[in-house]
C-alpha cells in the first residue's frame, strides 16, 4: 500500500483536510493528478486517521485504557469520498468517568467537518454482547483496526471475538453470508446488468467482493486474493481478472461519490454520461461513449459475480456432507451426475474431445441439473479449444439446436453465456457481449436481453399454449430469439444486419434453406408486428392483406407474434403492458383469421391476397358491360387490390377510348380532396411530366397510386389539393388538360415554366419550421421483383417533379408508386427497375442514384 507522502507530489497535507469543501477539492485535485482507485481510498483513510489521532492526543487522557477503533470500510482503509466513517471507542469499565470529555473531544471536530460519522462507545464485553444479535456488527468487527490508543485493550477484544464468533462457527458464518447475499439479490435484482447498477449492493458489486473475502478469512483463514490463489480456490487468470474488476469498481465508486456530491453508490442513468466522460470515453460512430463505459462496468461486475458464485459453490461443497459413492451416476463416458450437479469427470478429457462441451450442456438440460462449478471453470478455461472444426460440426450443431426450446432452455443458455461458451461457439455474438443501450427502455445489456428473450418464450409456452402449438419447429423460433439482436452495436439497421448474420450462422449450423428463410424473416421483421400494431390503422383491410402476404403462413405469424411479445417483455418493465398487448393481439387475430380462412388454407402456401384478387376479378366480370371482353392477365394482384371493383371497371371502360385519344384525363371532387385520373401509354419520364404540370397548376399531391398494365397502359390516380385555396369550380381544368397532353407529348417546356413560376418563391424568406430529416432509402429486400426507393422529406411545391425527373434521368422506370404525406412530411415510395428491367444492385450506381435523389430533394 502507498501512503500519501512520498507517493505523489502534492500541495495538500492531511492537516488541510478539514471542511467538506476543502475535502472535495482535495479529492478532485487528486483525481486530476491521476490518483484514483485504492490509492485514493487509502489516502483518504490516512487523512482521517491523522485527524482522529490528533484529537485523541489533545484530550490527553490515559491512553492505556482507551482504544479508538475503525470499523467496516474505514477499518479496511477503504474510504470513499462520502463514505460513513465508522468508529468505536473502546474503554475499560474503570475509566467510565472520563468517557464523556474524550468522546466530545473526538466527535465534535469530526462533526464540524460535516462528515457522516457512525460511532459507538463500548467495553470489550459490551462489544461481544452486541455482536450476538447484530449480523452487520459481527461482520464489521472482522475489519476492525486500531487507529490509536491501547493495544492491549484492542487485542483483548479481538481474542474474545475470535473465540466466540469465528472458531467452530464456520458453518453458521457461511449460512449467514449466503442468507445476506440472497436478500441482496431479492432487493437489488439477480443481475449485474440492470439499467442502473448499484456498485455496492448489486450482484457483482462490493458486497459480493467483500462477502467472498470475509468468508475466505473466516472459513479458510485466507487473508487476501493472493492466498486464495495459493490455496487453489481461484486460478491465476481468475485472480488477475478479478483484481482488474475490483480496481475498476473502486475508481467508479470514487468518482460516483464526487459526481453525486453525496454518498451515492448507484450508477443512476443521469450520471452515466458524465461518468463516461470522466473515464475518458468519447462518442464513436457506432457506439456512444456512455455505452462503451457501461459495457466495461457490466463486464467487470459480471466477472466479480461469476467468480463469487463459483467461490461460494466451492465453499458450500467443502463444508457440505461427505458424498457417498452411490450418489454418483455416470451419464455418459466422461460425464457424471453427483449431488445434483453435472460433472466433467476429468478436465483433461476436454482437450482430446471438444465435443464434450456441448455434451455437458446437453446432459444438464436433459437431467435438469446445473453444471458443477468446477466443470464451469473447466469450460471457461478451455474455450480456446472451441475452433472452426467444432463450430462446423453437424453433430455438434444438432445437439445445440436440441437445447433451444428443449427442457430448461433459458437456464442452459444462461450457463452457456456465463461460461463464455456461447460467444465462443457463435462468435458473431461477441459484438453484443455486455453491450449497453443508453436509453430508459433497455434494462439489460444486449447479450442478457437475448437470453432473457428465451426465458420469456418459455413463459409464453405456458401462457399461450394454443398459439405455441402452431409452431412445429421450436428450435427455429428459439434460435431466432437468441439471435434477433445480433446485428446491434453497428449503428442503425440492426434487424437487417442481424438477419444477414443469422443466415450465415444458420448455414453453419446446417439448417435447411427453408429453415434459414424463416430465421431470416423472424429477425429481419422482428419489429414489424409491434410497429404495425402501434402505428397503423388496423381497420385498414388493405394493410391487413399486405401484412398477411408478408407473413405468409399461420406458423410464421405465430412465431413472429410470440417473438414480438418475448422481445418486448425482455426489454424492460416499461416496454410491455396490456395496452400494447391489446393492439398486438388485434393485429395478430386479424392476420391470423385472414390466413386461416377455410377457403385459403387448403394449400400449404396460403395466399390471402390472391384470394382477394380473385374475388375482385369475379366482381369486375359481373359489373363490366357485356360488349367488353376483359383480359385479366393485364392486371397484377396488387393493382386489383388497390381499387374497388367499380373503379377498375371504369378504368377498363376508359381504356377503350385510348385507341383514339393519346391522353385520358378526368377529375372529380371528393370530400376533402380532388381525385384525378390520368391514363395513357406508359413512357419514360411520364410521371415527372404529370407532376410537373400539377405543380404548374398549384396542385399539391396528397396521395397517388401509379400502376402500369401489362399492355403498357399507365393508370395513375392522384389525390390533390390546391395550394392557393382555389375552389374546385375555380380551377382551370381545361387549360390543365391541354398542358398535360402537351407535356406528355414533350411539347411543353416544364423546366423553364416551373423555374419562372417558383423563382419568386425561392427569394421569399422561408417560414420557420422544424427541419425534417431528409432521407433516401434504396432497398432490394422488401420486394422480390423491384427495387424500392423511399424518399422522406419536408413537402414543397414541385418536389415530386424533381424526384421523378431525377429517376427518369437515370433511366429508372417507375412501376408503382405510393405518395403519402404525413402532415408536412412526404413519404414517397417508388417500386422501380432500371432501364434494362433489373433491380438496382450495382453499388456504385445505387450510390450515385442515392446522391442524385438527395440533391434533387434538398438543393432547390
Amino acid at each position: 500500500m502507498h501512503g500519501p507522502s512520498g507517493m505523489v507530489q502534492t500541495a495538500l497535507k492531511p492537516q488541510d483536510f478539514t471542511g467538506l469543501q476543502a475535502r472535495r477539492q482535495a479529492l478532485d485535485t487528486y483525481w486530476q493528478q491521476g490518483i484514483s482507485g485504492t490509492v485514493l481510498l487509502r489516502m483518504h483513510s490516512d487523512f482521517i486517521d491523522h485527524h482522529l489521532a490528533g484529537s485523541f492526543k489533545k484530550a490527553a487522557v490515559n491512553e492505556d485504557d482507551f482504544a479508538l477503533v475503525a470499523l467496516g470500510g474505514y477499518g479496511r482503509q477503504e474510504l470513499y469520498p462520502f463514505s460513513d466513517i465508522d468508529i468505536m471507542l473502546l474503554y475499560d469499565t474503570s475509566r467510565k468517568d472520563e468517557l464523556s470529555s474524550l468522546v466530545d473531544a473526538i466527535l465534535y471536530p469530526l462533526w464540524d467537518t460535516g462528515l457522516e460519522v457512525g460511532h459507538a462507545v463500548r467495553t470489550p464485553e459490551e462489544c461481544i454482547a452486541d455482536a450476538a444479535d447484530d449480523f452487520f456488527f459481527r461482520v464489521a468487527m472482522l475489519d476492525a483496526r486500531l487507529i490509536t490508543g491501547s493495544e492491549t485493550l484492542f487485542a483483548r477484544l479481538q481474542e474474545i471475538y475470535k473465540s466466540i464468533y469465528i472458531e467452530g462457527k464456520r458453518q453458521e458464518f457461511l449460512h449467514d453470508m449466503l442468507d445476506q447475499r440472497q436478500k441482496r439479490e431479492t432487493q437489488y435484482g439477480r443481475h449485474t446488468y440492470l439499467l442502473e447498477p448499484h456498485i455496492k449492493e448489486s450482484c457483482g458489486g462490493f458486497r459480493d467482493i467483500q462477502s467472498m473475502l470475509w468468508t475466505a478469512q473466516v472459513v479458510f483463514g485466507l487473508k487476501d486474493l493472493a492466498s486464495l490463489q495459493e490455496a487453489g480456490l481461484i486460478s491465476q487468470e481468475e485472480r488477475v481478472r478479478f483484481e482488474q474488476a475490483q480496481n475498476y469498481l473502486v475508481r467508479i465508486r470514487n468518482r460516483l461519490h464526487y459526481v453525486s456530491g453525496r454518498k451515492n453508490d448507484q450508477l443512476f442513468f443521469e450520471h452515466q454520461e458524465e461518468m463516461a466522460q470522466a473515464f475518458g470515453f468519447t462518442n464513436q460512430k457506432d457506439m456512444l461513449a456512455v455505452e462503451h463505459f457501461m459495457r466495461e462496468v457490466y463486464g467487470h461486475m459480471q466477472t466479480v459475480s461469476v467468480t463469487v458464485d463459483l467461490f461460494f459453490e466451492h465453499v458450500e461443497e467443502v463444508l457440505g456432507s461427505e458424498e457417498s459413492p452411490k450418489d454418483v451416476k455416470t451419464l455418459e463416458p466422461g460425464i457424471e451426475l453427483r449431488h445434483n450437479r453435472v460433472h466433467l469427470v476429468n478436465t483433461e478429457l476436454i482437450s482430446s474431445k471438444p465435443r464434450l462441451f456441448m455434451r455437458l450442456f446437453r446432459q444438464s438440460s436433459r437431467t435438469g441439473k446445473p453444471l458443477h462449478f468446477r466443470t464451469r471453470k473447466a469450460i471457461t478455461a478451455n474455450l480456446h479449444l472451441v475452433d472452426d472444426k467444432l463450430r462446423l460440426s453437424r453433430r455438434n450443431a444438432k445437439l445445440f439446436l436440441s437445447l433451444l426450446g428443449g427442457p430448461e432452455s433459458f437456464r442452459v443458455m444462461e450457463e452457456m453465456l456465463d461460461t463464455g461458451f456461447l460467444t465462443a461457439y457463435i462468435p458473431e455474438l461477441a459484438k453484443v457481449e455486455s453491450l449497453a443501450q443508453h436509453d430508459i427502455y433497455h434494462v439489460f445489456t444486449v447479450d442478457r436481453h437475448l437470453v432473457q428473450t428465451i426465458a420469456e418464450l418459455e413463459r409464453l409456452q405456458e401462457e399461450e399454449p394454443n398459439i405455441y402449438a402452431v409452431v412445429s419447429a421450436p428450435p427455429i423460433l428459439f434460435l431466432a430469439a437468441l439471435l434477433h439482436d445480433v446485428g446491434k452495436g453497428f449503428g442503425h439497421g440492426h434487424a437487417e444486419r442481424g438477419a444477414d448474420l443469422a443466415r450465415h450462422i444458420g448455414a453453419r449450423l446446417g439448417l435447411e434453406d427453408d429453415e434459414i428463410a424463416v430465421v431470416d424473416f423472424l429477425i429481419r421483421d422482428h419489429l414489424f408486428l409491434s410497429h404495425t400494431a402501434q402505428r397503423r390503422d388496423l381497420e385498414d383491410e388493405e394493410l391487413i392483406m399486405r401484412s398477411a402476404r408478408k407473413v405468409k403462413t399461420p406458423e410464421r405469424l405465430a412465431m413472429l407474434y410470440l417473438l414480438t411479445i418475448a422481445d418486448a417483455r425482455a426489454t424492460g418493465p416499461t416496454v410491455w403492458n396490456d395496452w400494447k398487448a391489446a393492439l398486438l393481439l388485434e393485429l395478430y387475430l386479424k392476420i391470423a383469421l385472414l390466413l386461416d380462412r377455410k377457403d385459403i388454407s387448403e394449400k400449404e402456401q396460403v395466399r390471402g391476397a390472391e384470394l382477394g384478387a380473385q374475388w375482385i376479378r369475379e366482381k369486375v366480370s359481373e359489373l363490366v358491360p357485356e360488349n367488353i371482353t376483359i383480359n385479366f392477365d393485364l392486371f397484377s394482384d396488387d393493382y386489383l387490390l388497390s381499387f374497388p371493383p367499380e373503379v377498375i371497371v371504369e378504368h377498363i371502360t376508359h381504356a377503350r377510348r385510348l385507341e383514339k385519344q393519346e391522353v385520358l384525363f378526368s377529375h372529380e371532387q371528393r370530400q376533402e380532396s380532388w381525385s384525378l385520373l390520368v391514363m395513357t401509354r406508359d413512357r419514360p419520364g411520364l410521371l415527372a411530366r404529370i407532376f410537373g404540370v400539377l405543380a404548374l397548376h398549384n396542385l399539391n399531391v396528397l396521395a397517388a397510386k401509379i400502376f402500369t398494365w401489362a399492355d403498357g397502359t399507365a393508370v395513375d390516380t392522384i389525390e390533390v389539393s390546391s395550394t392557393i385555396q382555389e375552389n374546385y369550380e375555380g380551377q382551370n381544368w381545361q387549360a390543365m388538360q391541354k398542358e398535360l397532353e402537351l407535356a406528355i407529348k414533350q411539347r411543353l417546356g416544364l423546366e423553364h415554366r416551373l423555374g419562372r413560376k417558383l423563382a419568386p418563391l425561392r427569394n421569399k424568406p422561408q417560414p420557420v419550421q422544424p427541419r425534417l430529416a431528409t432521407r433516401v432509402n434504396i432497398d432490394n429486400h422488401v420486394s422480390e421483383q423491384y427495387s424500392v426507393i423511399e424518399v422522406f422529406s419536408a413537402d414543397r411545391i414541385g418536389l415530386l417533379y424533381d424526384i421523378t425527373k431525377t429517376l427518369s434521368y437515370f433511366g429508372i422506370n417507375i412501376h408503382r408508386a405510393r405518395i403519402g404525406s404525413k402532415a408536412d412530411q412526404i413519404v414517397d415510395v417508388f417500386y422501380v427497375l432500371d432501364g434494362d428491367g433489373n433491380k438496382i444492385e450495382n453499388p456504385d450506381f445505387k450510390k450515385e442514384l442515392h446522391e442524385g435523389l438527395l440533391y434533387a430533394v434538398i438543393n432547390q
Binding site: N466, R536, D537, L538, E539, N577, W579, L593, K822, A823
Partner: protein
C-alpha cells in the same frame, strides 16, 4: 384558459402531434388509455380458443391553451385524427382555473 382532452386512435397520435406542432402547440401530455364507448370490446375465436379484448386501446392528449386558441386546436385535432369510422374518439374541453410553472412560479398564460 382551457384544457383540451382528446381521446384518439393510437395510430393517429403522430399525425395529431405533428399537426398541433404545426399550429404552434409545443407541449402536451400523452398517455396510453383504455376504455370503450360505442366501439365495444370484442371477442374473437381463433382455432377454438377465445380471445377477449374487453377494452379498446386509445391515446389521450391533454393540452392547456389560451381560450382564444380552443377552436383552432379542436379543428386541427379533428382534421388529423379523423378516419370517418367508428372509434375515432372524442374531444373534451374543460375550464382551467390556474396554471403555475413549478420551476419559476410563473402563473397564467406565461406558464403555459
Amino acid at each position: 384558459m382551457k384544457k383540451i382532452e382528446a381521446i384518439i386512435k393510437p395510430f393517429k397520435l403522430d399525425d395529431v402531434k405533428e399537426a398541433l406542432n404545426g399550429i404552434g402547440i409545443k407541449g402536451m401530455t400523452i398517455s396510453e388509455v383504455k376504455g370503450y364507448g360505442r366501439q365495444k370490446g370484442h371477442k374473437e375465436i381463433y382455432r377454438g380458443a377465445e380471445y377477449i379484448v374487453d377494452f379498446i386501446p386509445k391515446a389521450k392528449l391533454e393540452i392547456i391553451v389560451d381560450s382564444a386558441q380552443v377552436d383552432k386546436v379542436i379543428d386541427t385535432i379533428i382534421q388529423a385524427a379523423k378516419t370517418g369510422k367508428i372509434g375515432d374518439g372524442k374531444i373534451f374541453v374543460l375550464p382551467v382555473e390556474e396554471v403555475i410553472r413549478v420551476r419559476t412560479g410563473e402563473k397564467g398564460e406565461e406558464a403555459i
